[in-house]
Symmetry: D2
Subunit: 370 residues, 4 copies
């Protein structure tokens, strides 16, 4: 199987370099009968897109998506869906002088060691430009999951450098450029980011994603577990260094009597597990958390090496985000959606004849114990 493909029954294959003619993907396995039009992609591509605020990269991409196949008279036909976006704002000259440099913290050196050749323009294949197609494919998955199962997927920024939310209101997330769940902190974040940009440095970020409405029973033990596949999907995003499900690393210091989520006829009394037990969804909200490292593309000069082994000074003058995690929220949401839809189809394949098992416990008890 292609190492540029993701998913078993809903398979996404992406291609394209940051500054090549185009990026694209093939989404295979989508059931027939889903209404799909180019405008469906607009909202999520915009949320991921650069150039929207001064806090993200100044590169401007129209990101006009073209549906090349798989849709007839506005409806999916069950055949592969080809999606294409032309790269219109590829200023290759910006990158010319780093063609022979290995930028610290980038994939330059590792691509060189692997392939013996690399496309240095804008990071080539290792650029986060590839994630545009993840978001596009994710749009299809989100639409199907929402329409068929009523599933809602929502991400937010849960940490920006050392700043954590001082409150939590999910409805605030889409109303500020930081996808921050506490509106009152936005001025503080803007000042933080302005200072950061001025310094020429960058910071990491933490992104949380929740999927509500996932029915119990999705996930395939033991090497196709729902949490295992979420981990693979999220860790494959550029700059990600960690993934948690439910309480994640906080579970280490918990006792079992605290962590085990009690079940009552009126619902689960807590959700430390993050909606997954034994690799299978429990019907509770699926919760994950993702760590993004600070981007290594900095105006601050640093010593590096070139392909001849010489020490060179590396300065990144291109257009880069001081915090790549901000734009990553729709990417994380998309990966969660793709994993869930794939698992939905896999569950239907093997267990379609099981039906809804009794007792089915509500996701959450009316008044939680904890």
């Amino acid at each position: 199987m292609s190492s540029n493909s993701f998913g078993k029954l809903l398979t996404v294959t992406t291609f394209g370099e940051s500054h090549g003619p185009a990026i694209g993907c093939v989404v295979d396995g989508c059931p027939p009968g889903l209404a799909l039009a180019p405008e469906d992609f607009r909202h999520d591509l915009d949320r991921r897109a650069t150039g929207k605020t001064r806090h993200t990269s100044a590169r401007r991409e129209a990101d006009e998506i073209e549906i090349l196949s798989g849709v007839y008279e506005g409806v999916t036909t069950g055949t592969p869906i080809g999606l294409l976006i032309r790269n219109t704002d590829a200023r290759s000259k910006d990158y010319g002088r780093i063609a022979e440099q290995f930028r610290p913290g980038h994939a330059d050196y590792t691509y060189w060691q692997k392939y013996g050749i690399r496309d240095p323009r804008g990071g080539g294949r290792s650029s986060a430009r590839e994630t545009t197609m993840r978001v596009a494919a994710g749009v299809i998955a989100r639409k199907w999951l929402a329409g068929r199962h009523g599933i809602r997927i929502q991400g937010w920024l849960s940490q920006l450098g050392e700043v954590a939310p001082a409150g939590f209101d999910l409805s605030a997330v889409e109303d500020n450029p930081f996808f921050w769940p506490h509106a009152a902190q936005v001025p503080e974040l803007e000042a933080y980011m302005d200072a950061l940009r001025k310094s020429g440095d960058s910071v990491g970020a933490r992104v949380d994603v929740i999927a509500e409405g996932v029915p119990p029973g999705w996930g395939e033990p033991v090497y196709g577990k729902l949490d295992g596949e979420l981990a693979a999907a999220l860790m494959s995003i550029n700059a990600v260094k960690g993934v948690e499900i439910g309480d994640g690393f906080a579970s280490v210091a918990q006792t079992g009597s605290v962590h085990r989520d009690e079940m009552a006829p009126e619902g689960f009394l807590s959700n430390h597990a993050g909606g997954v037990l034994g690799g299978i969804s429990s019907g509770q909200a699926v919760r994950c958390s993702v760590a993004f490292k600070p981007t290594s593309s900095l105006r601050l000069p640093v010593d590096g090496l070139d392909i001849h082994g010489n020490v060179v000074e590396v300065v990144t003058t291109g257009r880069h985000d001081p915090c790549v995690g901000i734009r990553a929220i729709p990417i994380c949401e998309a990966m969660v959606a793709l994993v869930l839809m794939d698992q939905a189809l896999r569950h239907r394949a093997q267990c379609g004849d099981v039906g809804e098992m009794s007792p089915r416990i509500p996701a959450e008890a009316p008044a939680k114990k904890r």
Copy 2:
């Protein structure tokens, strides 16, 4: 592809329930010519095995492994290697009374919702008994990686509940039952575990694994990245709730000027990335960290539900570890080994003709900057 299979070119397929007749696996894709005998498996299976100290479950398994195929006159032939372990100490009667109960924090409810039927004896397929075969398969990968590439893989317990190591000496790890890297703390840990056992409760654990000697160039962008596959492999282990590569979640609060690992002709000056850049190994040590939740099998009673929807009191009287993370170290090592060997073969397939690229930077500078 089977959801009970792992790996693309080195493929491990496991089968078996905790209290069924046997557990086993098929390891396919191992190159011919590797010397392999039943005694090769002894050391790692013993490290994983139960009943060795009072701090792990009292279940005693001989875990005598049988090589059923793929080896001729002590050497692998390139054909699939079948491995089998009979379950000799399966006291099914211990579990009889929970056949209709959903134990909180276990996979009972989710298996029921998925399949409409489950083998309740000892957790059935969801039992950590399955990980025995991961360790067995991992033995093959470790032997091949060591012999052909000189790679050493070592794990240790980096946190036990709220206790963190007060010092770090890798050579101490194999000399204490906690795989703890600071020998002086062992009495403290024993007291901690004794108190825990007496209380009937459990705690989580954090396991770190390092792989040294991995050459640069392993890993397949973008959906077969080395870190993505490590995340999938480690998250698929029972009770795992989080995975980090390199600095992991600590990267969130770092600045880019700190995180980006500088390269000098004499070697990398730091290793925040954990040996992976752009999903490809850099030649530095590959570092990962894994969070284990506290086991939910407790003597402390808790309200649960049964398959008829009735509230029942659940008490686990079987043999269980108060901290499952301790025995998980060889499992984590095995999964890292399996991922690395698979990537080694994949790299050889696509880039076998590239050869060793110049300049190849040492894993670490003689005197680190940081």
Copy 3:
């Protein structure tokens, strides 16, 4: 994916050498709730087994199958089904003297060139012994297909050397040791085989398989077509040199006006296509035909080479069938069953929500036009 695995959603992984300790397989993806017991395997294993008549190899295998996992209280649970058969009649000494010889027409030379090592005992992995596990896995598929979809799969010998059936009565097939569809020819076939055995030579055979009751819509264009997967499945059987769907090579000399199967409200008027159009089942009987070469294990001496490049005389004195195609009928049936069940699950995954489309045309018109 393991090259010893077959199928996408119903995945069969086999292992084992002809004269090793055991052969076995793992069947993954079987839906939960299928009744399954060791005695279900008896009939088809016996049909494949050796030693039943003087016209097949004298090797006697009890072929006692053990279900190691995936079944609880007589019913499948959705977890992988491990199956094992011990090799009880492995007379390795029979084969000792050919350990360094390359037998013409066998895989000895090619395994040697591929792996640089081979298990020469009874052909090792290249022995048709492996097909026992195909038959075993096929039993599960046949039972599921029959129970859920009413599908009947039946094979017969449609040519033995130069002898073709002089009549056709499917009900005769199971009542003679040749699976021959015309009972009156059985004495002729016995004389033919006796003469062949006496001569020390062998002949090829042609096997036809029909699957009735397959609903329209199974098969995944374009690289997972039903006919493409049947071809892969059947060609992977030892000694197979050709596969046809429907009229096969006879289509070459047909005109389009003859070949295209007309549809009428009362049913299809012919079935030249063999039940597959565009890679998808049409609802008509799926028909395939398979060519088996004559076995190369002959008592007739022949010049060969050894691993040192010397010319040696090769005589096969072991137990071998003068016509391997006879015993291959349950193997072909099993492969057809495995392909169909896999496609059934794949269809349910993607199109489970389509339902039964109107108009659904009967498989065959009451009075065929042709």
Copy 4:
């Protein structure tokens, strides 16, 4: 894995409908360092293209291919290669009146039964238009196989309806529009085809393909055998009804003493096996033969059904070939090339360290015995 993907390590994913905006493919797994330019595709795309002679369809496609990714400065980089061809001559109006008809012998009915919706324009996804991308992907494989291993792949028409070659000269094949290996018959074939076109009917064809220079050792037993994968690849081509390896169905009537290819130090004495033993290449020429049915798109009217169950008269007035097999030769060659390159990479992955085994027998003895 996508059902529109083919290959394990060299993976080709195609998308696109006959009359949609474009067709395309993603070729993943190609090693870095292969020179590749748009003009490399011209020769084979032209050989497959329509409108070249009066004996093939009158549809004219420029088939201008665009390389969208994976190539930097004229050389492959190891990242996925995106290829795109715009559909410029899609006269959808030609097909309007058959949107609700099921044409006999076509995939109309089966797509309808599977998906409940279909793109009727020019056959949509079931059109042979898709094979254009197989040829394009095959160009990459052929170039790599020729450059690295000196492998030559050549196909020819070995039967046209009832006409068989009266002589055999491989050098004649590319000099006539029928890819016919006996030049003297070309006028006869032209008269045959003219009469056929006038009659409004069509005929089938047989295509042979030979691959010379394949080293011994390629192919993965048992479900990734070289012959099994060739069968899958060739049977997946539109209109194919049969596949043979080596002597194919002629093996049925052969005796073992004839069929088994003798080996001598100076080379193999015959090649009945077609270069594959036990699923692994022997170093001899790999030979396969493919049966194409007559196209069902005829000017001759026929009764059919529509989606409402009514009987309708079906007449195909679009542009269609009276013998689709003629244009299929480069498609067959491409599929053989893709299978071989995939197997080459798989062999290198598992057995790269075996090296060239001794004795390596020449493909053919100077003077063949048979």
